[in-house]
Subunit: 220 residues, 2 copies
DNA sequence: ACAAAAGTGTTAGAATTACACCCATGG
DNA sequence: CCATGGGTGTAATTCTAACACTTTTGT
């Protein structure tokens, strides 16, 4: 039973108010010069999560971000070199988080999810699946907050939701819902880069835990 | 990289108005005589889905039921014999669906999810994860209908929801919601086994597709 | 002075929840 | 005749969705 096991990672971030995926240009066949998502083999004494985290760190230098298993892909023909089952993960990198370019990766790029090039292997399917999962998770988890630094403005948060959902939201309803949920703490700081200063907020994990117990959602 | 790949399947059904899981008593070490969920190796030229379907059929004789990938488990120590990554699946067998006992399985049993014995390997974790997934899927998919034969009474359907969610639902609200959703078709047939005859219904896939497009849920 | 983004409430409609009685049948 | 499960509607509450103007600052 010579099946090889890899992990592949769909790494998301927000940039220019758009949802982006990290892609790498392949240097070797198969699919030489095509874009692909980062990935690699699971080592002998490594859990799947650990393998994904290692690959993430190798490729981006970050290991302090949200990382979750997505789905496993194991079509016998998905890799022309032989039988490879991949456990796909997705990661959420906060906007503005600085990324160190990976080892072999002079050719990494943040690519708009609405404008993906042809991808190697079945990576297009994996990315599409990850986007779908992310959109769903937005509604009942705090995934949205994980795409922002610790402090953020309400407009920035709304922009994250809009980028991921791919639609505009009503500003007043969005803020009303957040106030009602009570998961944000106002900080004393202001963002002064825009036209008008905006209050900075941070996420209150304690309050969120209480809401979860009651089954309350983030229904945007 | 000698990692072995298996599939394991959490097979659910409803019996005696309770949510049940199919367990098999292991005949060989490790965990000899412990209960476990069915599973086996992924073959060389077989997709993951095909492997799961094959195992399901070997164990139960059925291959016409709902079957979906759940999650992959790959802790290096999860199998004492060596490195085994398992792709877990879950299946929904309609109540009353007749099951042929599996090959090696004189010792299969439908076990109440609220009263599970100690399970082999990390199977308890897999089953718990499957239950959680099933509960969630109930809210936004037609998983509930997949646990019933083609025709069913409204009380039977409600009983499925109650068994999976582990709580009582209000009869009138339940029926009102179904009527509003319009996903049921009344059949001319009646169930005459209970005290009073009950109308039999069947699921209307066409109407459900329309609802899905609009993002409407089954919020019980 | 004006362009750009921040901030702020109300109202109508829809969905959710709580709740109690009569009916048909088999034992 | 009575125990069991089938069947039905309304009212209060909560949630959702639509909607526009004023404020502050940088240019």
């Amino acid at each position: 039973m010579s099946i090889q096991v890899t992990v592949d990672i769909v790494i998301f971030t927000i940039r220019d108010s758009r949802l982006k995926v990290l892609l790498i240009k392949r240097g070797i066949p198969p699919f030489k010069d095509a874009m692909a998502i980062p990935g690699g083999f699971v080592l002998e004494n490594e859990s799947l999560d650990a393998a994904a985290l290692r690959e993430l760190k190798e490729e981006t230098g970050v290991d302090d971000v949200f990382l979750e298993q997505l789905y496993s892909f194991g079509d016998p023909k998905r890799d022309p070199r032989g039988r490879v089952v991949t456990i796909a993960y997705y990661a959420l990198v906060p906007a503005g988080h600085s990324i160190r370019a990976g080892s072999d990766a002079a050719a990494t790029a943040w690519c708009d999810v609405d404008d993906l090039p042809k991808l190697a292997f079945d990576h297009r399917r994996i990315v599409d699946y990850a986007i779908e999962r992310l959109r769903n998770k937005l509604e009942y988890t705090t995934a949205g907050f994980k795409m922002l630094p610790e402090q953020f403005t309400l407009s920035e948060l709304q922009s994250v939701y809009e980028a991921i959902l791919g639609k505009k939201l009503d500003k007043r309803n969005f803020r009303k819902k957040l106030k009602l949920l009570g998961v944000l703490k106002a900080t004393p700081a202001w963002r002064k880069t825009g036209r008008k200063p905006a209050r900075l907020y941070c996420f209150s994990a304690k309050k969120f835990e209480k809401l979860k117990d009651k089954g309350i959602l983030f229904p945007f």
